[in-house]
């Protein structure tokens, strides 16, 4: 029984990263020999200190950066253009300040030639899913930081992506807002059944959200530990006070510190 749990290879990977390395023009090696399978329905966190290449890994998956070694494969992809199945959320909300929430969420559809009228139901639905129905006519400056991030998530979801890539999306938010958005993100993932790759430097956030945590180390960027989170996907505030949560946090924290170079401990 345990053997089956240990090796959930029955489902084909959504994305396979094989020996991916990235060396920038200035000679910095951001990533070296990265091997990673992301399976459908997973919530994978890339946890690591700044400069460990976790964002670079995410950008390579999205096709926003080219690896200098290795390759990214999409074994399970149905459509030819797998980019159509990716939603991306940046650390900043990255909204167009001159456009309303509706127009911001419409953008990915608009770029695919969907008219505003045709996109309206989908846009409205996406805004409702992030709890922002009624705020469609607001401009970004009229929204709080958390609400802007919600619009950004609604925009990423408007194409109904199979894979949602998030690059420290909640790092700039206050803790109360972050907790709320964490819960909403878990709910959205359950509703959509999408796969999430989540870059973070917060041990607690990664344990709370993930079904699997990959701890990364810097110079060169690589994966040093893999921590499966054997907890039900339906999580609430109560999860934060369980023994499992505490153990996992200690485990992840230990892996993170073990991964850091000696000079970073001072």
């Amino acid at each position: 029984m345990l053997a089956i749990l240990d090796r959930p290879v029955a489902t084909a990977a959504l994305v396979s990263i094989r020996g991916v390395g990235k060396t920038f023009a200035n000679g910095t090696t951001a990533l070296a020999g990265l091997d990673l399978d992301i399976r459908p329905g997973e919530f994978v966190s890339l946890l690591g200190p700044s400069g460990c290449g976790k964002s670079t890994a995410l950008r390579i998956i999205a096709g926003l950066a080219e690896p200098t070694a290795g390759r990214v494969e999409w074994p399970g992809s149905l459509s030819e253009d797998h980019r159509a199945e990716i939603g991306f959320v940046f650390q900043e909300p990255t909204l167009m300040p001159w456009a309303t929430a509706v127009d911001n969420v419409w953008l990915p559809l608009r770029l695919r030639g969907v008219s505003r009228r045709a996109a309206a139901p989908r846009v409205e639905e996406s805004l409702a899913q992030v709890g922002l129905s009624g705020f469609g006519g607001s401009y970004p400056r009229e929204l709080s930081g958390g609400m802007k991030m919600r619009v950004s998530i609604a925009r990423a979801l408007s194409l109904r992506p199979k894979l949602l890539l998030m690059d420290e999306p909640f790092a700039a938010l206050d803790e109360i807002t972050r907790f709320k958005l964490n819960d909403d993100l878990l709910r959205l993932q359950r509703e959509f059944g999408c796969t999430v790759v989540f870059v973070t430097h917060s041990v607690y956030e990664s344990v709370y959200l993930s079904s699997r945590i990959l701890v990364m180390a810097a110079r060169p960027g690589r994966i040093v530990a893999e921590i499966p989170v054997w907890a039900p996907r339906e999580r609430g505030e109560g999860f934060r006070s369980t023994q499992l949560y505490a153990d996992l946090c200690r485990h992840a924290s230990g892996a993170l510190h073990g991964a850091m170079a000696p000079d970073e401990h001072r």
């Binding site: 953008l107 992030v130 709890g131 400056r141």
Partner: protein, 306 residues
């Protein structure tokens, strides 16, 4: 467009605190009104006081009108010479607006070309700078030799108004959030089936220009336009003055030169006042246009609430 407000079944997120609308009334509202009265009223008071002092000074010291005419005399001259001055004003206005229009057209077109192609930028931008840093007064005699007078004057107005539009629009087209550009790369790089890759790339570049760079550049362009409006008037006046002694001009600057030769100083002042008023009106009109276009979203158009 606006969507219906949230139905009661949808729970609002706890962080969903909308910006509170400005409250009118109360002492805050009153203090805002006082501030507004001061902002409009004080310049008027200063203006009236200077005019009174000027009038008083000329009267008590018996300054002759060919040295310094009193404001009342200038006003009377303005009314008396109105037909001549109005004709000249219209000539100068025509040059100014035509120069500005051509500057906007040329500046924006070149800025778009520069933003699309690095080769164009490298080839042309240095010459735009040369054109800008060479004083227009020094170029105008040459232009007057090569071009008919009205065209030479127009060319001067165009040259000085062109650069602020070009440089500001270029800066604006480049000041796009890098992440937004990446988002366009991710979502917008679709190409027609079977088309080669470069078609997709150009298409995505044009899309980014239209959906992203154009609105991002608007505040910069409008700031450039505000500067260009004033400069276009200056360019027209400088060229008219350079041409004035040589040709048969009829703009306001020409009137100023003519009045100086004839020692008709009250008319000189009247023409000067008209020029200043024209400059102020152009500035106010362009500021209003800028406010109208940016008031919904841009920081510069927002009132600070305390």
């Amino acid at each position: 467009m606006s969507l219906p407000r949230a139905s009661s079944t949808v729970r609002a997120p706890v962080d969903a605190v909308p910006a509170t609308p400005a409250t009118n009334g109360g002492w805050r509202g009153v203090s805002f009104d006082v501030n507004r009265i001061l902002r409009v009223g004080l310049p008027i008071v200063v203006f009236a006081a200077s005019l009174w002092w000027w009038e008083h000074y000329v009267e008590t010291r018996h300054v002759p009108p060919y040295v310094l005419p009193a404001p009342s005399v200038i006003w009377a001259t303005l009314l008396k010479d109105w037909p001549i001055l109005l004709g000249s004003l219209l000539v100068t206005l025509k040059t100014t607006f035509l120069g500005l229009l051509l500057a906007v057209f040329g500046g924006v077109t070149l800025a778009v070309l520069l933003s699309l192609s690095r080769l164009v930028e490298y080839s042309l931008y240095p010459y735009a700078v040369v054109l800008q840093v060479t004083p227009v007064v020094a170029i105008s005699p040459l232009l007057l030799i090569y071009l008919p007078q009205d065209l030479a004057v127009l060319a001067c107005a165009w040259i000085v108004a062109f650069f602020p539009v070009l440089s500001n629009t270029t800066l604006g087209l480049q000041s796009v959030d890098r992440n937004l550009l990446e988002l366009f790369d991710l979502y917008g790089a679709t190409r027609p089936k079977g088309a080669p890759a470069f078609v997709g790339r150009s298409l995505s570049r044009v899309k980014a220009l239209w959906y992203l760079r154009r609105p991002a550049a608007l505040p910069y362009f409008l700031a450039g336009l505000k500067v260009a409006g004033g400069l276009s008037l200056i360019g027209a006046v400088v060229a008219e003055i350079a041409a004035g002694s040589a040709g048969a001009g009829s703009g306001l600057a020409y009137r100023i030169m003519e009045s100086q030769f004839r020692l008709n100083i009250p008319r000189l002042f009247a023409a000067l006042a008209l020029l200043a008023a024209t400059g102020v009106i152009i500035f106010l009109a362009l500021s209003a246009l800028s406010h109208l276009l940016l008031r919904r979203w841009h920081e510069s158009a927002l009132k600070q609430e305390r």
